[in-house]
Amino acid sequence: MTIDWVLILEKILLISGVLVISLVVAMYSTWGERKVAAIMQDRLGPNRAGWIGLLQPLADGGKLFFKEEIIPGTSNRFLFILGPSLAMMVACMTSAVIPWGDTLIIAGHTVSLQIADINIGMLYIFGVVSLGVYGIMLGGWASNNKYSLLASVRAASQIISYELAMGLSLIALVMLTGTLSVKEIVEQQRHGFWNVVYQPLGFILFLICSFAECNRSPFDLPEAENELNGGYHLEYSSMKLGFYLFAEYINMFISSAVMASLYFGGYSFPYMDSLGLDHNLLTILGTVVLFGKTICFIFFFMWVRWTIPRFRYDQLMRLGWNMMIPLALANMLLTGAAILWKQGH
């Protein structure tokens, strides 16, 4: 068996591209967050570093790199370093199964704009997302600080609770589409309606759960930067802290992309096949559309953050277990009944 070098090169290029883009988007999400916060509070936001403050993320990153690195003497050194690394790695891994676009035809060679079109893409997303809690857990525990530990326990129980409802709301989607491959789900939406039309309740549940999964406001109480003393990354400084914060922004980007792909048609847009455009051009246009949808979702994440106050912990748990999970189950039941009814006719 010969090794397909072209394929390997193509995948390496694609992986680097996706990685770079998700890092850049995460970087500019920090800028966007501050800008959105500012304009919603009738302020201007960062506008000194570069044109409309566009160099601000670079300045922030540089600052974090040059800050003093403190590892507490009583911490478990290995796990302490492993925590943020794991958080960052897991955040970057999910992007592998998201179809960033259709195929490009370059010199007779078909290049898929998806790193891995595995037939269990949704399961992969779930597996990787649930790994994310380990970074938080390890970081909080290895700090050897009771506040960090409490915060990480809070984060872990929150993430695990909301993962259930998230999974259940996606099961309804899988029942509807009959596939676990993200690419196929997008292709189905390309030829039919967007899934949000069939699954409005499922989408709202998934949206709320992804807020909780990303530790975003109104579910940001593992961190609660204006009330608690830092959360699970209390003992972290310099770029390790930066990694934790950065991982959250990457998570936000990825979950926005997942939502856009699963419920809002991914890289497809209405009437795209009746435009009569060149295949490659259409693919690039589709990728741009996907990024547009993703950015809309990122804006939505920020918009919610600067609107809704934080939940109390018992409210969070009650919402998760007493509201989200029953609703997700009901949604599943409804979807199943609808599918059966359709098959009967």
Binding site: I39, M40, D42, R43, L44, N47, W303, V304, T307, I308
Partner: protein, 169 residues
Amino acid sequence: MQALTNRAKPVDRRPMTFVERMYLPAIAKGMAITFKHIFQKKEVVSYPEQKREFSPVFRGLHVLNRDEEGRENCTACGLCAVSCPAEAITMEGAERKPGEEHLYREEKYAARYEINMLRCIFCGFCEEACPKDAIYLTETFAPSNYKRESFIYGKEDLLIPMPGEKKKA
């Protein structure tokens, strides 16, 4: 208890209706409010480039005045220091020597005159107390600085420049 004003509003303790318990309408309302603010006027004065306009009675940094011949008005009587509620003013008087008549208006002058701008509350009592029209509050305010010592303004900082002579920055 009897209400003191008629503005008191009783707390609505009725149980929430189903729509209220869904929270989503209330969330949508809140989101609409924040979204509206995107298009509203920004209340920011970008400071070094733009400056806020002061009211005509604004009291800012002090200046020590000169008369029309460029002689210092201050006679180091110490009334400003006495009237100062923050005790921000320190001065030392000195006697005018023959030949210094073009520098100082009267026989006595302030050899040292210091105002601690961190202590000063800009009340303007010194201006009111001064019998010689020597001290005035202007419309500028103390620029930021790195050291506390730099906020103690001496005579060279306070004195208005001689007519026809530029003040050092």
